[in-house]
Symmetry: C2
């Protein structure tokens, strides 16, 4: 039996399942409103948000990286703030995996929203997210979280070590549908 990638020793970490906090995270990715230019339908509304609210926090990713070698798993906590750009709900940039043929699992711990997904061939899907909802993002599906609620949307995410991130392709393509909150109702259009 081979043991070539046994270099990572067993370990454990603590996640506050109620609040969705990964304790002692060593990587902390922060995206502010200004990082989201080009993603929302109403670019002027985004600029007003950046100027008027001092470039507010948009979303964060907390992780303790393991290894990008095949066979390992990576995991993180994704935390997306509530809010609207015009009437469009706050969302993450979205990405394919760099090794596109790899899946991802999101276990929602807090908040309300959707996981929107698409393929390069134009297929589109959305799954609702709420506490306890586990969303399966299959290989080859770009994916973005969208917060339709009034508290942070927080998920525990697991993906294969070799997955990597490809933000560029989906930034070019965009997602075919958007999610709005209009007079308190979720509208997917």
């Amino acid at each position: 039996m081979q043991t070539k990638n046994a270099a990572v020793e067993p370990f454990s970490l603590e996640i506050d399942i109620e609040s969705g906090i990964l304790k002692n995270a060593t990587n902390h990715l922060v995206r502010r409103a200004s990082d989201m230019r080009g993603h929302y339908a109403d670019g002027a509304a985004l600029e007003r948000l950046i100027a008027g609210e001092n470039d507010p926090l948009h979303y964060e990713v907390f992780e303790v990286p393991v290894s990008e070698e095949r066979g390992h798993l990576m995991y993180c906590i994704s935390k997306l703030q509530p809010g609207r750009v015009g009437e469009e709900c706050f969302m993450t940039k979205g990405h394919y995996h760099a090794d596109a043929g790899t899946a991802e699992i999101y276990l929602c711990l807090r908040g309300r929203g959707f996981m929107a997904m698409k393929t390069t061939e134009g297929a589109w899907a959305a799954q609702e997210m709420s506490r306890g909802r586990m969303v399966y993002v299959p290989p080859f599906w770009a994916h973005r979280s969208i917060n339709t609620g009034d508290e942070p949307l927080i998920s525990f995410c697991v993906y294969p070590g070799e997955a990597g991130h490809n933000y560029g392709d989906i930034e070019q393509e965009g997602f075919p549908r958007r999610i709005y909150l209009r007079q308190g109702r979720v509208v997917i259009t």
Copy 2:
């Protein structure tokens, strides 16, 4: 960009994060005390348990299988009953992965216990499990859950689709240490 394994469509499932129940699971693996012969130090105590308590439930695995193809992820809920065989704490059989070089993540949702791990070279490790504790089982480490508490030990588990299970090798090797509850104290020996 290839899309050869896009056959699985996006989906979602509901997990009761408080109670640790995966709703609508389609696979339900059940191990009773009689399935655990050969695993505990005190075989006679196990036989008394089987005879005296009508072969009680030991542990269960609930899942909705996805695909064993590389790039996919599999997940399950593992539920281990509390109890002792003599003074030795109830535990799962333990396994290596059939594709040994694949990791597994356990997010404990309920209960108290340990994840015991070993390699074929004889390295051994144990990580405590309690609600919110995430244990990383690296590639090439056999792993077994052990319930030291008085309620079910329940975890949400994720592993690469190609991992598979190898119960035979660890059944031959055994784990080098055992976990007992003696006068209310956990003893690892």
